[in-house]
Amino acid sequence: MDERKATGAMNDAELNEVISHVRAGDPDAWGELYRRYAPAIFRFCRRALPTREDAEDATTEIFMKTRQKLGTFDSSRPFTAWMYKVASNHCWDLLRRRRTRQNLETPDVEELALEHPDPSQLERLQAERSSEELRAALAKLPDRARMALVLRYYADMSYDEVADTLGVRRAFVGVLLLRARHQLREVLRGTSVEAESAGGNS
């Protein structure tokens, strides 16, 4: 959890020192912190938000927020987790503000099929689809589904943290994740069908 995606090698003592310098207004320390975390936060945003342009904007805004909120950071806790929390909250706020129609649908536990999945289909899908295709399919998911998968499987957040970020009950996180997986499979299957029909037509 603490060792989230590549933020550069810096031990806790060094990091705390840098943070205290930033708090004291040292611009070099701020530059150092930014250099360490900007790539990771940008990559996170790139996965959480649908377009590159949005990810770039969001990264800048997240660091502006980070600078403002750094005074509230409890240095006894892992900074990387805190930073991801700021980033995920920002991205989710951004997505919610945009209020896509997709998000107006209410995820419903009752609607979720609890059937026994066909493992062979699942395996075939994994074998046929590449990472690039999965990433592209991810971008087609509703915001909440995409965010749930990114928070859990990219940012390595716990169920508690996912629930807190997305504003849902902890017990609902599993449902969200499973539903997101279903939607992802659907999109990937659709891509597969499209590819096959395109191949057949040519």
Partner: protein, 536 residues
């Protein structure tokens, strides 16, 4: 135990089941091959998700890769910049706005403040009459901006709704007529006539196919009609929009007319301002104040007591002018009865023609057809540039502090050069046309005028966004308001320098306006967009 469902399987793999349930699932897994296979597939899916999400590490964009900007501006630089900005604002006011107001006041817009003047001397918005001074207006505007800012901060999620609500409240406040603004509104069926001997005690607003005013109107006369004839007396102003306008009676106030042809046979105590293709002032006609014309063909045979300001194609003067004349025309002719007591200044295509009997107070001052090149040797030029830079910088800083998110959105939108330029060109021409068209309807007049005012602000603010973009391009992205302000200052300074380039400077100015306006439109569109499509 029956087969595991997928939800249980996922929670088991994620370590989210309680101890007892987890033990049950483990036991079942060891004895049930299909469930074991399902759990393996789910687990592989988790790994696949993690690996795919971690893979394809996209290179960080250049604008984010560089070390963030740090505000290194010394306090004295801030003081100097803000001082310069204040100086620029003061210079703009004292050098441009105030003389303009003075001229306008001379031309009869004597209601006391800029907006009242723009809104035709209160002919429409009586509410402005309450705002007797510019200070009052500025206070109201500041309050509006503060409310918008507050809405943006406190109720960020509802910032658009807040802005609309505030704007709506403000607009309602401005457009609500005061109790003193009672007016008689009539719609012709299809024509309207106010018979001789009848008197309207209030303002009279008429919309008809043909309108004829033979009686008296105590207030203003506002009329939309194909043909308009005023034979009676109007004690207030006339504001007329029509194809043909004839004023044969007496007008105690001003006449402002938009018409295909306008014939003035009567007398106007105050001023005349008209945009008419043909304007004919009969020899019996009298105007006590000034006359401002924007027309194709003009014949002035009557008496004008004030100054004449004319932007016309063809101008024949055969009457008397008691003061100065400033004329821009393709052709100018003084007939034998022409008398101009003051100074005549002329800029035009051909040499003016003057009948031998025409009497002019001074020789005609003929100005060159083109504006002279700026004098690069004059320190005054550079001083003015510095002040203008200061004014635009101050404007930009206020914009940034009041609406930082919108500022950032617009600056980002300016990076989409193609769409911004395309939309900029479109809106540069479309907004004024739409606003003017809106002004032709009684309901849309307020909207039209508000749009025009916003349009002017948008044109001025265009340089701010492009300046901010340019500053960021040169210095890299900055984090924090201070860094953005520093980049803005540099970007605006460079734009100001570019404008000094002979000939190309004008083109650069135009490009900046178009580009910035387009970016503004894109940013507004982005904020209003109800939904967005995820990238594939």
């Amino acid at each position: 135990m029956s087969h595991l469902d997928e939800m249980t399987g996922l929670l088991y793999l994620e370590g989210e089941l309680d101890v007892n349930r987890e033990r049950e699932v483990s036991t079942h897994r060891s004895v049930c091959a299909p469930c074991r296979r399902m759990l393996q597939a789910l687990e592989r899916e988790s790994i696949w998700l993690r690996e795919s999400l971690a893979a394809q590490e996209e290179a960080i964009p250049q604008r984010l890769a560089r070390v963030p900007g740090r505000s290194t501006t010394a306090p004295w630089a801030w003081i100097a910049a803000l001082g310069m900005g204040a100086g620029g604002a003061y210079t703009l006011w004292s050098g441009l706005v105030e003389p303009w107001l003075a001229q306008a006041s001379e031309a009869g817009f004597t209601q006391g403040n800029l907006l009242t003047m723009l809104l035709f001397s209160g002919a429409f918005w009586k509410g402005w009459g309450r705002m007797q001074t510019l200070t009052q207006f500025l206070s109201a505007a500041t309050l509006g901006v503060f409310l918008l800012w507050l809405a943006g901060r406190r109720w960020r999620r509802f910032s658009v709704a807040g802005a609309v609500l505030t704007a709506g409240l403000g607009f309602s406040m401005l457009t609500l007529p005061s109790s003193a603004s009672a007016a008689e509104v009539v719609h012709g069926d299809p024509n309207y006539t106010l018979p001789a001997g009848d008197e309207v005690k209030t303002d009279l607003i008429v919309a008809a196919q043909h309108a004829r005013i033979d009686g008296d109107v105590d207030g203003d006369l506002i009329v939309w009609s194909r043909s308009i004839t005023v034979n009676g007396r109007v004690k207030g102003d006339i504001l007329a929009l029509g194809q043909e306008l004839r004023v044969n009676g007496q007008v105690d106030g001003n006449v402002r007319a938009f018409a295909q042809s306008f014939t003035l046979n009567g007398s106007v105590v105050k001023n005349v301002m008209t945009w008419a293709h043909e304007f004919d002032m009969d020899e019996k006609a009298r105007v006590g104040g000034t006359m401002t014309l924007g027309s194709a063909n003009v014949q002035l045979d009557g008496h004008l007591n004030g100054d004449l300001l004319a932007f016309v194609e063809d101008l024949d003067i055969n009457g008397s002018l008691s003061h100065d004349a400033t004329i821009r025309a393709q052709r100018l002719r003084f007939g034998p009865n022409a008398t101009v007591a003051g100074h005549t200044q002329y800029r035009g295509g051909r040499q003016p023609e003057k009948a031998p009997d025409a009497q002019l107070g001074s020789p005609i001052e003929i100005l060159a057809g083109h504006r002279p090149m700026p004098s690069y040797a004059s320190p005054r030029l550079y001083w003015h540039q510095i002040l203008a830079w200061g004014a635009s910088f101050l404007f930009g800083v206020v914009l940034l502090l009041v609406a930082p998110a919108f500022f950032a959105d617009t600056e980002n939108a300016s990076k989409r050069f193609g769409p911004a330029i395309g939309l900029g060109v479109l809106f540069l021409f479309a907004i004024p046309v739409a606003a003017v068209l809106a002004c032709f309807t009684i309901v849309g007049l307020g909207v039209g005028i508000t749009t025009l005012l916003s349009y002017i602000v948008a044109l001025y603010s265009a340089q701010v966004f492009i300046g901010a973009w340019l500053g960021e391009k040169l210095m890299g992205p900055g984090i924090g308001t201070g860094a953005i302000i520093g980049r803005l200052a540099i970007g605006l300074a460079i734009l100001r320098l570019l404008r000094l380039i002979p000939f190309a400077g004008h083109l650069i100015s135009l490009l900046v306006v178009i580009w910035g306006l387009g970016a503004l439109v894109l940013a507004i569109e982005r904020r209003m967009r109800p939904q967005w499509a995820p990238a594939v």
